[in-house]
Symmetry: C2
């Protein structure tokens, strides 16, 4: 018998309460060893004046129980309301977003009858830090951050997930032919960690070609792990092309806490009518049961659900003349799944999950720091209406006997020395200073450089220090450098 | 009669020469008023020791003629060879990548029989500037740059393209719900420029949902314009799901110069056998003829080509028993297209292009600068093994009577003041300094801040100045701020 697990439940808005009741009933009938602590989140909380949609005490409950099953909520119209999902993800450090995407052919219509893949999306970093600055009239910047802990955690999660769900292959998508440092780190970590799982096949695709293959022939893929932005786009693509986006669940996993949900919304128009399909939330609940190690219950529910789908017991949203056998309401659907507990599907593939093994990963272990050496600085300058060579003449006036201007780029393209007249230049320039032969650069010299720029009326807008780690330069060259 | 236009042609490697000869013969037969100046690029040039794959004199030819039709090339194996396409795009400022993606159902197999869309991808900026820095042990950064000229040029190009090709709708994809400043600018410019084209429908989708729709029901879309990264991924998805990726051409358009090509590679294994399909390069040539205003010739060739496809005259790559009528070689295929000049397809849709109107856009006009005011600075710090509150205690020691620490974030999430214990923190911290009430901040104060940090042994790694433009703060808040 597995340990009793207390979980936090929020019934949410719209169809939330009905599908949550159905989901809890199925879990109880299947023998899930859970105790429910309910909190209120969503519309009522927002409208009561809390712009995060969740009260302080509810946070405490979530943080105490650590496992959170959440029904869809409604964010009221109008400004100022913060996304509850984004807040939860960010503050609880839910680094992993898991999205199983499965076709249920021939019971649900799809152009991709053979499709059963899982997208594991890094959930905290990349361009989603929301660190944006405008510093010139023409150019706006967003920081894309990729961290080694972030990469290690998500890649390890993907392999552990594959193990628990008895999957054969983990694929990685990056754009490391262009972003050699950031996406390069993700790919490098993927290769490192893949070595620890020799029983699982691994492969890497450049994201553009990988995405094209996935959208056209999803049967080529099993588990796919990727950085946040690619995962955001491609998990929606994958869910959509299964043809059954309303039947999908997802999880958000952190080192401490985890949240499970349906991927669809609160559908207020059909709320309270006992007609909604509880399958999406039920899929979230199955992910939860596996997460906490109640894998046999999870397997039993999933097989009963597949059996229910294939026997043609369908709610209105998936009911189709000629394919479906019986149109049922929310409660009847739940009852059908409960009736099928212990049975397996015969046309759809039955599932098998690693027995009794919770999907808990070790806490991230910090690495020993490398030797870091300052070897230059990129000073960014705002200057309108100037040619690269004219700007270079102004900037070289800042040269000292230790450090000199080595190049200027505009949007990454080298424009000095040896630029092309055709290169379109904005008012946003990167001026790279590096030490001359046999000299070094110090922080103090960077400060003096900025001081001198101030004296010479150069409008400096930002800096990026250039470092070597363990002797290896850790920054990109200019295009053409 | 249109003006005689001199164009640069490179026959490339592998199947390049055969398909270029076929393409040129079709253009001549159709009455294209062009004169050819040939250059050599690719494998031989690389192997002769030029790591860019193109000689200085050939650059001069391209820059003089401004219009460049390029066959596929082979980049030799081994390091150090730079991508000719990337170099050309960057240095010639080819800001617009155009990818028509069309199904040829029932003549070419596809899951998407009704599909005829064009992806117009911004080609110079976004994360493709390749500006990457690692400044702490754990975190690597890439700059995403979006510029107003970049947005205006690509969006205007999309609408002008729609006009010339008599298309009805331009759709914009961004992720501006998350990246409010960068993608927000792209979306804003889209809305501004759309107003100038009231006869063309316009709409905007968040890229994840838009991508899902496009991959599932591409018939919803016509012209789609997007920033570089989304365009890179989704143009490959769109081309792939047409089922005819080997039949597609593309163009790269700049203010001065333009390059036209097939999207497939040089296929060395079938080179010299007179069996390759010249359709991809021919599609590139049709884009070129429209670009230079020889639209009637372009229309004539495209309709003859569609007629050839639907009469079942197919090269080996698209030949299919039961659908195709006749298997032909490269030269025979070209001869069939030439024989069909003046005819129109009857099952596939015939095309119609705006008569005699070159697709030349005005040069970008700089805007009047706004009032820019310094209102703070983000100082980034490298610090391992420290809790946010402990770091804050160290950093607040740098406060002056003018400027004070207002927040610390880690990967964009506010961790001070009022952070959460669960938030996973890397060794990369952003410390935001803002003036206290009734005070202002100056560049000199930023320099003094850095100086003080140096004295206090704080490892500063980069800065981002915070500005207001015309009184509006032009940077994002921290998540939770």
């Amino acid at each position: 018998m597995t340990e009793l697990k207390k979980i936090t439940v929020a019934k949410g808005d719209g169809i939330g309460p009905e599908i949550m009741d159905a989901t809890l009933e199925i879990m109880r009938s299947a023998g899930a060893n859970i105790e429910i602590e309910e909190i209120e989140v969503g519309e009522k909380v927002y409208l009561a004046g809390n712009n995060t949609g969740i009260a302080k005490e509810s946070w405490d409950v979530i943080r105490r129980n650590k496992v959170f099953l959440k029904a869809p909520i409604t964010t009221p119209q109008g400004g100022g309301y913060k996304s509850l999902n984004v807040t939860t993800r960010k503050f609880l450090g839910l680094y992993s977003n898991v999205r199983p995407c499965m076709s249920l052919h021939p019971f649900i219509q799809t152009k991709h009858p053979i499709m059963d893949l899982v997208i594991i999306r890094e959930n905290e970093e990349d361009v989603y830090g929301g660190i944006e600055h405008q510093q010139t009239d023409e150019v706006v910047q967003c920081l894309k951050l990729i961290s080694r802990p972030g990469c290690e955690k998500i890649v390890r999660y993907a392999f552990e997930y594959a193990k628990q769900y008895e999957r054969k292959k983990v694929t990685c998508f990056t754009k490391d032919n262009i972003m050699k440092q950031t996406d390069g780190l993700f790919h490098k970590v993927f290769k490192e960690i893949a070595l620890e799982y020799p029983e699982i096949e691994n492969e890497h695709w450049i994201v553009d070609i990988g995405a094209a293959k996935m959208a056209d022939t999803p049967e080529l893929f099993d588990v796919i792990v990727m950085p946040n932005l690619y995962g955001d786009i491609l998990s929606d693509v994958a869910a959509q092309i299964t043809g059954s986006v309303g039947l999908a669940g997802s999880s958000n996993i952190g080192e401490e806490c985890a949240m499970f949900e349906a991927i669809h919304g609160s559908a207020p128009r059909i709320a309270g009518q006992n007609i909604a399909n509880p399958s999406g939330l039920l899929q979230g609940a199955i992910l939860m049961l596996n997460h906490i190690g109640q894998t046999e219950v999870a397997e039993k529910i999933q097989n009963a659900w597949l059996k229910t789908i294939e026997e043609g017991t369908h709610t209105y949203d998936i009911y189709k003349e000629g394919i479906s056998k019986q149109k049922v309401n929310t409660k009847e659907f739940a009852a059908a799944v409960i009736r099928n507990l212990g049975q397996k599907p015969t046309i759809l593939n039955a599932v098998s999950y690693a027995k009794g093994r919770p999907l808990n990963l070790p806490k991230y272990q910090r690495k020993t720091p490398q030797t870091k050496e300052l070897i230059g600085v990129d000073m960014f300058v705002h200057h309108a209406n100037i040619k690269p060579n004219e700007l270079a003449a102004k900037i070289t006036a800042l040269d000292t006997e230790n450090i000199k201007l080595s190049m200027i780029t505009n949007r990454g393209v080298k424009v000095y020395p040896d630029g092309f007249d055709e290169t379109f230049c904005t008012d946003h320039w990167r001026c790279r200073f590096q030490p001359v032969k046999d000299k070094t650069i110090t922080k103090q010299q960077i400060i003096e450089l900025l001081q001198k720029a101030e004296v010479f009326n150069i409008d400096t807008i930002k800096t990026e220090n250039l470092y070597a780690f363990d002797g290896q330069p850790a920054f990109s060259l200019g295009q053409g450098q």
